[in-house]
């Protein structure tokens, strides 16, 4: 079952690399949050404990409800254009993603022989990290950098699930708090930038002076 959800996660990464809508990024983030929640809940279906539900619930509230809503609010408030502006062609981007994913899958298969990891969730998590970084590199819009960061973070989460079936709950919650604060700060920063400069693109930031 974990493999199945990881496949869906990979599919969402592919979708992320072909779509040209800002809204689609938010939807994908929401979907990934949902997938991660299900992945976290799955081990506890057999031996239920209330304590173990804290993390999935927090994850659900933050990743599926709060962050997408907040990003949508920023998009609405700042009147951001709905088309993403990539710096390279989408086709090349997708090729890059396929290529890196292939390498990651092969590498994690080699890794899984010497260590005790599950290949598919591990590789999917790793791919999400790489795709997140690629999104940050190859997109002009600042809001998409936030999205890329969140994808990267989702990847780390999946990674954690693959490496150890239970990470200490406190660490995971700490991570969630970090992410939330970063998104929040980014939102505030975006608001500030919009009141000073008219664009929300990285290119505009390059021209900043004292």
């Amino acid at each position: 079952m974990e493999n199945v959800l990881s496949i869906l996660f990979c599919l969402s990464l592919f979708y992320l690399s072909v779509t040209s809508r800002v809204k689609a990024y938010v939807t994908v983030l929401q979907m990934q949050g949902l997938l991660l929640t299900v992945l976290l809940v799955l081990p506890f279906v057999k031996h239920f404990s209330l304590y173990a539900l804290i993390l999935p619930t927090t994850l659900f509230i933050i990743k599926v409800v709060f962050i997408p809503r907040y990003i949508n609010k920023i998009i609405r408030d700042l009147d951001i254009k709905r088309v993403i502006e990539p710096t390279i062609q989408q086709f090349t981007f997708l090729l890059l993603v396929i290529f890196s994913m292939t390498i990651i899958f092969i590498a994690s298969n080699i890794l899984s022989k010497s260590t005790d990891i599950e290949t598919i969730p591990f590789a999917s998590g790793f791919s999400a990290v790489v795709v997140g970084i690629l999104v940050i590199i190859f997109r002009k819009k600042l809001i998409l950098h936030v999205a890329g960061f969140l994808v990267l973070e989702n990847g780390i989460f999946l990674f954690g699930i693959a490496v150890a079936s239970e990470l200490p709950v406190m660490i995971e919650i700490g991570m969630l708090l970090d992410v939330f604060v970063v998104v929040f700060l980014m939102g505030i920063a975006l608001n500030r930038i919009s009141s000073t400069l008219s664009g929300f693109e990285v290119t505009a930031l390059g021209r900043l002076k004292d």
Binding site: L11, V97, I98
Partner: protein
């Protein structure tokens, strides 16, 4: 025994050849219902084919012999491809080790001759359509090999009949695999049969067309053959999709027929839905769309290589 196999093969080929226009009619009917119209009857494609049969064939003066042999080659190659498909549990008419590659390239031959014929007429519109068809075919071929190829790779078999018979639906991850496969087969069908997000089958504005523009100057029997072969092609891809879901483990004919009907209906409904709710992509976005399907195939291959 050999005679029974032969008859079964011939019957399944006849089933494909006769039901093919019906499937296109089904899609059109559902599309009409979705957009709030009553729509033409499901058997409308048969009437249209009959009408074309009665018309006179006119060829351009600049056309050479290629234009006159191309429609025949088209229909024959597509029929050969249809003869390789396992419909039901019967062994198809043409079936040998490695026929999966022949299947792809027989369809490729049909496309090749269609492109040649389009350029043969000497009209710039047809030439443009031919160029587009050739470009998108380049991106469509990897989809086929990565999806059916991944199933072949997993099962270790290379004959279409054996590949489909190796599909077992009692394994959960196999079901997901098949569903993921069917997404890319769907995209392949949309591309190869020039359906909506890639090409609009109804438009008659030359600048936006791909497939339709290539047969713009054909008429009569030639047009009949082209249309008929495109109906068969669409049905071939539909069967590629439905065959994934057959209960090959249990040889139950009623169940197989029910599954065939249900999956065909779902497939035509999803084709109709996609055609209703999406608009045609910009030409420059089509390669991305096709590469997306290839990516799914690559993912399939990766996942099932490493979970085995």
């Amino acid at each position: 025994m050999g005679l029974i196999l032969l008859t079964q093969g011939i019957i399944s080929l006849l089933v494909i050849l006769s039901l093919a226009p019906m499937f296109a009619g089904l899609v059109n009917k559902q599309k009409a219902i979705f957009t709030g119209r009553i729509g033409a009857p499901v058997v409308q494609p048969y009437y249209e084919l009959k009408r074309l049969l009665r018309k006179e064939t006119i060829n351009a003066t600049s056309a050479s012999f290629i234009s006159s042999i191309s429609p025949v080659i088209n229909v024959v190659t597509v029929a050969i491809a249809a003869a390789m498909l396992p419909i039901g549990f019967a062994r198809p008419l043409i079936s040998f080790e490695g026929d999966i590659i022949l299947f792809a390239y027989v369809l490729g031959l049909a496309r090749f001759f269609q492109i040649l014929a389009a350029m043969d007429i000497g009209s710039s519109f047809e030439g443009m359509g031919a160029a587009r068809e050739a470009t998108f075919a380049v991106f469509a071929e990897p989809i086929f090999f990565f999806t059916l190829g991944s199933v072949a790779f997993i099962s270790g078999l290379t004959s279409m009949y054996d590949i489909y018979h190796s599909v077992r639906l009692d394994n959960v991850s196999y079901i997901v695999f098949i569903i993921v496969c069917s997404i890319s087969v769907f995209i392949l069908a949309v591309t190869e049969c020039s359906r909506m997000p890639v090409d609009d089958p109804n438009t008659h504005l030359e600048l936006t067309m791909i497939h339709e523009v290539m047969i713009l100057d054909n008429s009569g029997i030639d047009l009949f053959l082209y249309q008929y072969s495109s109906y068969i092609k669409l049905f071939i891809y539909a069967i590629l999709e439905t065959s994934f879901f057959y209960p090959f483990g249990v040889q139950n004919y009623t169940l197989a027929i029910v599954i065939f009907a249900v999956v065909t209906l779902i497939l035509s409904a999803s084709l109709a839905t996609v055609e209703t709710i999406t608009s045609r992509f910009k030409m420059k976005n089509i390669p991305e769309y096709l590469l997306f399907a290839t990516a799914i195939g690559v993912l399939n291959l990766l996942i099932y290589t490493f979970t085995k």
